[in-house]
């Protein structure tokens, strides 16, 4: 068990591709950190630098109180779970688990004890003598987890370990990984592009964008107070509605015309105004005299997803697309005009130029 510290870590690939741009973060002992961001934002590169599979261009990475920049991957006391599992195809499940321990000269009966224990926890005891090709995707995933567990490392590193599984199994394994990590208390860094996976697993999220940290925080905080329009639209599904607005007689209205009425809380002339789909309340008529937000909205499409429905439409019939969450039984025909209201507390303001959050 250990802390992991990144100090202005940069990675420049051949051809001057700056994949990671000066990332600094302190990861606590036993913490579950999720690196989340769109494809190509440098998540894997960062994780692989922690693992030692990729050289660090500048900066320092410490595991525990030891700088590991030049330490061999095998000596970093970490275990990694790969996206395609990376099991040894020619070894039985037992040997896949035991391989790393044998190379560390651990006593035979201790190896056996650990393998059996991991097999019990992960319920793979029946396959120990099988080769990986005789296992299903879910079983291979468990073996990959087992290979990490038996090592009893200071940290687990996961690179999109669930993305090759079907949706149902993914949810199941997600819960299991979380439970296991809490039970073992091992510091973990988990990479995913799936914001739902990130939200559910993380003690703290690191949202990466173009190789730089956009925001670090507990999932709830990131969700409630996104630091930028990038985070606002990346975390949460459907994404937060963002409307360019400008000040008009002390109130705000949409850049595209009227159709929106909100208080100007921060004294600027222009903003990107953010509001989550679930914070909009549908009403048949315009709310008047509120100190909150009110929008005039024309329905385009209704998308029922079971427990709830999403209504896609446009502001004032012509403005930017807006999505609003409605109860599952809601029925609205295309072309219907509705009013969407929200309280001032649920409105997010972002700088119109750089997209940074404006706090009141």
């Amino acid at each position: 068990m250990a802390t992991i510290t990144l100090d202005t870590v940069r990675k420049v690939y051949a051809g001057n591709v700056e994949a990671v741009k000066g990332v600094s973060v302190d990861i606590d002992d036993g913490e579950f950190i999720v690196l989340v961001g769109p494809s190509g934002c440098g998540k894997s590169t960062l994780l692989r630098m922690i693992a030692g599979l990729e050289d660090i261009t500048t900066g320092d990475i410490s595991i525990g109180d030891r700088i590991v920049n030049k330490v061999d991957p095998a000596d970093r006391d970490i275990a990694m779970v790969f996206q395609n599992y990376a099991l040894y195809p020619h070894m039985t499940v037992y040997n896949n688990l035991a391989y790393g321990l044998r190379n560390r000269k651990i006593a035979k009966d201790e190896i056996d004890r650990r393998v059996k224990e991991a097999a019990r926890i992960l319920e793979i005891g029946d396959y120990l003598e099988r080769k990986p090709r005789m296992l299903s995707g879910g079983q291979r995933q468990r073996v990959a987890m087992g290979r990490a567990i038996v090592r009893e490392p200071a940290a687990f590193l996961f690179d999109e370990p669930l993305s090759n599984l079907d949706a149902k199994l993914r949810v199941q394994m997600r819960v299991e990984i979380k439970r296991l990590q809490k039970a073992l208390g091992t510091t973990s860094v988990y990479v995913t592009h799936d914001q739902l996976e990130a939200m559910t697993l993380a003690d703290r999220l690191i949202v990466l964008n173009g190789g730089a940290i956009e925001q670090i925080g507990a999932p709830v905080d990131v969700y409630d107070k996104p630091a930028s329009t990038f985070v606002a639209s990346f975390i949460g599904s459907p994404a937060m509605n963002l409307v360019p607005v400008r000040s008009e007689n002390g109130r705000l209205q949409a850049e595209s015309g009227a159709g929106l009425d909100a208080p100007n809380l921060h004294g600027s002339d222009r903003y990107l105004l953010g509001i989550r789909p679930e914070h909009l309340e549908i009403s048949g008529e315009k709310a008047n005299g509120t100190d909150g937000l009110s929008m005039e909205f024309t329905v385009n499409v209704l998308e029922p997803v079971g427990a709830e429905s999403y209504i896609y439409g446009q502001l004032d019939g012509a403005g930017p697309e807006i999505v609003v969450r409605a109860p599952s039984h809601a029925r609205y025909d295309p072309g219907t005009v509705l009013y969407l209201n929200a309280t001032a507390a649920d409105i997010h303001f972002f700088d119109a130029e750089n997209g940074r959050r404006i706090e009141g």
Partner: protein, 293 residues
């Protein structure tokens, strides 16, 4: 896979006919002819043949020459196979480290594969030239007066080197693509599990390369046995004298230079049996061979 049914049951055989007739004319018929003449004592001038039963075989096997040549063939085959596989593997492992799937490099190396064997064979022969060959000059510096075509060991040595030289590009390409076929993340997982690169090679890379290696082993044994005829002939300049030759070369010598067709046929029948055994072993092992993926 889609199954197509022919209405006429004979039609598929008709389609196979060209292939089958080539096999029959160029392989089965000569083989049968060899088996037949191995039981006859052929008149050197071709006027007639006398049935002699197993005499040719008995003569062949019991001749002192044959034992010596068989031993050389064995050693030659072992050396050529071992060295050409070993060196090619070493080169492929080194190349794999720098290539990382860059397809330009691979294409370039493919060209070597296409061009090199005949050219390399010729170059090897030049290298061992008695008067201008650089290898001869090089070893002379260490006091080894190489006499190709005169000294038994020197000649055998040159044959092995030339044969290995010619075969390395083929093995190299197969090993390299085998190595590149090993999942990068499996190798990365291994680098986290095992510090020693040497140990990693023998416990992960090498076993995963085994199917390729086994295939190449058979190919190389066959090559050393049969396809080195040309190299040996060029090195000996068709003057065998007391120099080492392989069993295949002896078939040619006895049959076409010595005009002993019966004895030569008996030898080729023995070789056929050898090849047959080799083939059976190969299929046996391929059946049992592990298919990864």
């Amino acid at each position: 896979m889609k199954k197509v049914q022919f209405r006429n049951a004979w039609f598929p055989y008709l389609l196979l006919l060209p292939q089958l007739s080539i096999v029959a004319i160029f392989f089965l018929w000569p083989a049968a002819e060899a088996v037949r003449s191995s039981f006859y004592l052929e008149d050197p001038f071709g006027f007639g043949a006398t049935f002699v039963g197993f005499d040719n075989f008995v003569d062949t096997i019991t001749s002192t020459d044959y034992g010596r040549i068989a031993r050389f063939t064995g050693i030659f085959t072992f050396c050529v196979t071992f060295l050409s596989l070993g060196i090619a593997l070493l080169l492929a492992v080194k190349a794999d480290k720098v290539i990382h799937g860059a397809s330009t490099y691979k294409t370039l190396l493919m060209w070597v594969y296409a061009v090199a064997p005949p050219v390399a064979g010729l170059i090897a022969i030049l290298l061992f030239d008695q008067h201008v060959g650089p290898i001869v000059k090089l070893v002379a510096l260490f006091g080894w007066k190489m006499q190709i075509g005169v000294n038994y060991f020197d000649t055998g040595f040159a044959m092995v080197i030339a044969a290995v030289w010619k075969q390395i590009p083929v093995n190299f390409i197969f090993f390299l693509s085998g190595l590149q076929g090993i999942s990068k993340s499996v190798q990365e997982a291994a680098s986290i599990d095992c510090r020693s690169g040497f140990r990693r090679f023998w416990t992960v890379t090498f076993p995963l390369l085994a199917p390729t290696g086994f295939f190449l082993l058979i190919i190389n044994i066959t090559y050393a046995f049969f396809d080195t005829f040309g190299i040996i002939d060029v090195i000996l300049k068709t003057e065998p004298g007391n120099n080492p030759v392989t069993l295949v070369y002896k078939v040619y010598l006895d049959g076409f230079r010595g005009n002993d067709l019966g004895g030569s046929s008996a030898q080729s029948v023995v070789l056929m049996i050898l090849v047959f055994i080799l083939t059976v072993i190969q299929f046996r092992l391929i059946e049992r061979r592990i298919h990864y993926t």
